[in-house]
Amino acid sequence: MDRDLDGCGFEMKSRLHTWLVLPPLLFLGIFYFYPLISILFLSFMPEGAFEITKLYKLVRTGYYAGVLWFTVWQAALSTLLTVIVALPGAYVFARFDFKGKVLLQNLATIPFVLPTVVTAAAFHALLGPRGLVNMILMRLFHLETPVIHLDQTVWFFLLAHVFYNYTVILRIVGGFWSRLPKNLGESARMLGASDTRVFFSITLPLLKPAILAASLLVFVFCFTSFGVVLILGGPRFATVEVEIYRQALHLFNLPMASALALIQIGFTFGLIAVYTKLERKVAVSLTLPDSHSPHQKIQTPQECFFVGVNILWMAILLGAPLMALFLQSVLTEEGPSLVYYAGLLENKIASILYVAPIAAIANSLGYALVATLIALVLGWFSAAFLVGAKKQGALILDPLFMLPLSTSAITLGFGFVIALDEPPLNLRSSIFLPAIAHAMVAFPFVIRSLLPAWRSIPQNLRDAAALLGASPLRTWCVIDWPILRRALLVGAVFAFAISMGEFGATVFVVRPQTPTMPLAIFRYLSHPGSLNYGQAMAMSCLLMITTAAGFLFLQKMMPRSGGF
C-alpha cells in the first residue's frame, strides 16, 4: 500500500518518522557492522595488503559453487515443505476454538529451542535403524532388517527443518489468518464458488504477505543451517555455513571463511531485496474493522475430521520426537524413575562446570528476557519505520535489518572479539554480550511478524477515528494496538525461544561463568556414561518446560486489546 502523504502537517510527521530508524541502525552499526567489517578487514588484509592467494580455491574448483547450490536448494525445499505441511495447521489454529489450543500452540514452538544434538538424539531414538518405529515395524511384519533408512540422508535433515520451522508458519500465518474476515469466502461460496476456488482466489492472495514473510524467515533460517545439516545430514552434505565453520575453526583459513560469509550475506541481501519488493506489491489492507473475527466452535463432522487430522499430524511430527526425549529422561536401566532428574541436583565432584538446574534456568531466563526486550524494542522501531518508509528507503533498510539472521555465527562471534575490545565498547567478555547477540538474531523475527499486520491496518480507519474526535493516542490504542498486540506477541515468543535455545552466534561469544541450560546439556553430552546421557535428556526436558512456561508468561504480560 502506498502511503505517500501530502500536506504540511505530514511534513513534520515524516521527519519524525525518519528518526524511528535511528535506534535499530545504531544498534546494528555497533553490534553488527562494526564487528563484521573489522573481521573482514583482518581476514582479507592481515598485513595491511590484500591477500588473495588463499582464495584461489574458491574459484579453482567447482566445489564451492556446488556448496552454494546445495545450500540454496535445500533451503528452498525445506521452506516449501514446511509451508505445505504447516498451512493446514495454521488454518485450524486461525479458525477454530478447541480445548488445549493454547497448550498445543506452545508445544509446537518448543522444537525451536532444542539444541541440534538433542533433536538428533530424539530422531535417532525414533527413526534410527534401531529406533522405536523400526523396531515396531520389524516386529509387526517379522522383518530382519529396518524398514526406514533416513539416517544421513537429505530427508532426515529436511524433516528436522520442518520440525524446527513448523511453528514459524503456524504462528505468523495463523495469526494473520485469524484476522481475515470470514464472510468474504462465504459470499463467494454463495455465488457458487467451490471451496478450492475460494481458497486459491480469495484466501491465498489475502494471506500472501504473511506467507511470504514467514517463508522468508524459514528460508534464511535453513540457508544458514549448521548443526542440523552437520549432524543429521552427515558429513557428505555441506552448507555454506558448515564450510565456513570448517575453514575458520579447523583449517584456520580466515580469508576463505570470510569470503564465504560475504557470499552468504550477498545472497541473502539480494533475496530479501526481491522479497521486499514483492511484499509491498502483495500487501493488502483489510477494510473490515473487525480485527477479532470470532473463532468458531467445531460444528460439522467434516470440520471435526479436519481439525482432528491436523492435530494428529502435529502430534506425530512435533509431539513424537518430544515424547521420545521425555521417555529417555525417565526410562532408566531399571525401569521408569526420576534418577536422572535427581542426578541433576548432585555435584558429585564439586566441579565448577556443574550448574544447579535452578541456576541454569535462572541464567537462561535472564538472558532470554533481556534479549526479548531488546528485540521487541528494536523490532518495533524498525517495523514502525518500514511501514511508512518510502520505497527506496525500505528497499535497502529492510534487507539490512534481516542480515544478522543470515550472517555466519562464527564470523560474527570472531568480529565481536576483535571489535568490541576497547572502552567504551569493551564488551567482549561482558555478561550482556550473549543477550545482545541473541537479540540481534531475534529482532528480524519481530519485524517479520509485525510488518504484515501493521501494513494491513487501513489508514481510512485511523482517519475516521480522528475525524470523530479521537486523540492520536486513543486512535492508536483502539485501532493499531489490538492488531499489533498479537503480532508483537508472536515476535516476542520467537525472540524468547531463540535466546533460550542459544541460537547461532552465541556459541562463539566469549562468556563468563553463566552456564545456560543448553550449555549444561552439552556438558553432560561430552562425557561417556549412561548417567550423563540420561541427565542431558532430563535437562532437555527442563529446557522444554521452562520455555513453555516462558511462553505463557509472555502471553500474560502482553496486555489485552486496548487495556493499558
Partner: protein
C-alpha cells in the same frame, strides 16, 4: 509494552545485573579456555587464599574456537592465561606468536616426552589417548574377537562396525586421522582409508553424535566400534547407573593405534598481570591441581607422580607406544590430510 509490570521487571533485572557487574574489587587473573575445562570450586578458592587474587574463567566454544579467538585478540588479549592448546594445534598457536615463555619451577617434575615446546611458551598440563573403543558384550554375543588394531578394521568380519568422526569438524576425528598417518605413513594412510570406506565406515560430525547416536551403547545405536578416548571405559563405570564390576567397553591400545593428545597452558603476550599469570601457571602444574585433572576432565595429569583416583587406577588405560607426530609435521600436513581424507572417504 505499555504494561507497568513489564517495565518494573525489566528495570529490576538491569539493576541487578548492573550490581553484579560492579562488585568486583579484589584483583583477578583471567583464564581463557574451552568449554570442557573443569576443576572444583574449592581448588579455585585455594588459589584465592594463597595469592589474594581470584581466577576468572572465560569460555569460548570448543578448543579450536577458543584458540582462534585468542589469536584474533592478540593485540589486546581477552585474558592473561590460555589453557587448552593441544599438540595438533600447537604449531599454529606458537607461530601466531600469542604466548610468552615462562620457565615454571614445576616443569622439572614433568616428563620430557610431554614438553614439546623447547622455549617453554606452552607448558604441558595433561594428556589423553584418542583410540578406538568397542562394546565388549556385542563382540562376546556375536562370538567375534574384538579388533586388535587398525589393521583389523578393514577386514571383512568387521565390515560395517566402525564409527569415526569427521576430522574437519571434530578433534578426536582429527587425532584419529593423524594416527593413521603416523602408522601407515604419508601415502599409506590414503590406502587405509580407501579400504575402510569400502568396509562401510560410518562418519559423524562430532564425538557426541558418534558416541550417543550410533555407538551400540546409545539408544538406537547399532555399531560396536567408535573413536573415543582411552579413559572412556573408566568414565562408563564412573557415570553408570548401576554399580558395574567391569567396564562395558574397552579401548584398543596396541602399538600405533592411538594418538596422544597433550594439552598445554601458556601466558598470553601483552598481559598486564604477568606475575599473577605465572602464579596461575605454577598453580596448574602443582600437585593440588594435577590431582583434580582425572575426574574433572577425564585425562591424565602431566605430572607422573600425581596420585590417581580409584576408577582411573582400575579402568583407565594408557596406549602402548602411541603415535606422537611432531607438532610441526602436523601443522604442515593437517590441511592436506583433511582434504585428501574428504576426497577419499566422503566424495
Amino acid at each position: 509494552m505499555c504494561n507497568p509490570r513489564t517495565l518494573v521487571l525489566c528495570i529490576l533485572f538491569f539493576l541487578s545485573a548492573g550490581i553484579a557487574e560492579a562488585k568486583e574489587k579484589i584483583p583477578f587473573v583471567t583464564l581463557m579456555t574451552h568449554d570442557s575445562f573443569a576443576v572444583s570450586q574449592a581448588l579455585l578458592d585455594d588459589f584465592e587464599k594463597q595469592h589474594g587474587a581470584e581466577i576468572k574463567i572465560l569460555k569460548s566454544g570448543d578448543a579450536g574456537a577458543a584458540l582462534n579467538q585468542a589469536i584474533l585478540s592478540k593485540k589486546n588479549p581477552l585474558a592473561d592465561v590460555f589453557f587448552g592448546v593441544d599438540n595438533t594445534f600447537m604449531s599454529r598457536a606458537l607461530s601466531a606468536g600469542i604466548f610468552e615463555p615462562y620457565e615454571s619451577p614445576f616443569l622439572r617434575d614433568l616428563p620430557n616426552a610431554l614438553k614439546l615446546d623447547p622455549s617453554n611458551r606452552l607448558l604441558p598440563v595433561d594428556y589423553g589417548d584418542v583410540c578406538l573403543n568397542y562394546d565388549k558384550s556385542w563382540f562376546s554375543k556375536k562370538g567375534l574377537a574384538p579388533p586388535r588394531g587398525l589393521d583389523d578394521l578393514i577386514m571383512p568380519p568387521y565390515k560395517g562396525l566402525t564409527i569415526v568422526q569427521n576430522p574437519a569438524t571434530s578433534s578426536p576425528g582429527l587425532a584419529f586421522l593423524i594416527t593413521t598417518v603416523g602408522k601407515y605413513g604419508a601415502s599409506g594412510y590414503v590406502e587405509f582409508w580407501k579400504k575402510l570406506r569400502a568396509n562401510d565406515v560410518y562418519v559423524t560430525a562430532g564425538w557426541s553424535e558418534a558416541y550417543y547416536g550410533k555407538f551400540v551403547r546409545a539408544k538406537g545405536g547399532t555399531r560396536p566400534i567408535v573413536v573415543s578416548y582411552a579413559s572412556s571405559p573408566a568414565a562408563e563405570v564412573y557415570y553408570s547407573e548401576k554399580k558395574l564390576a567391569d567396564t562395558p567397553t574397552a579401548g584398543i591400545l596396541d602399538s600405533g593405534s592411538a594418538f596422544r593428545q597433550i594439552e598445554f597452558v601458556g601466558i598470553l603476550k601483552n598481559t598486564a598481570k604477568r606475575e599473577l599469570a605465572k602464579k596461575l601457571i605454577d598453580f596448574m602444574l602443582s600437585p593440588a591441581f594435577q590431582k583434580e585433572i582425572p575426574l574433572h576432565m577425564w585425562v591424565f595429569p602431566a605430572n607422573p607422580e600425581t596420585p590417581l583416583p580409584d576408577v582411573f587406577l582400575k579402568y583407565a588405560q594408557k596406549a602402548k607406544a602411541p603415535i606422537l607426530l611432531l607438532p610441526d609435521t602436523i601443522e604442515n600436513g593437517r590441511e592436506k590430510w583433511i582434504e585428501t581424507w574428504t576426497d577419499v572417504v566422503l566424495r
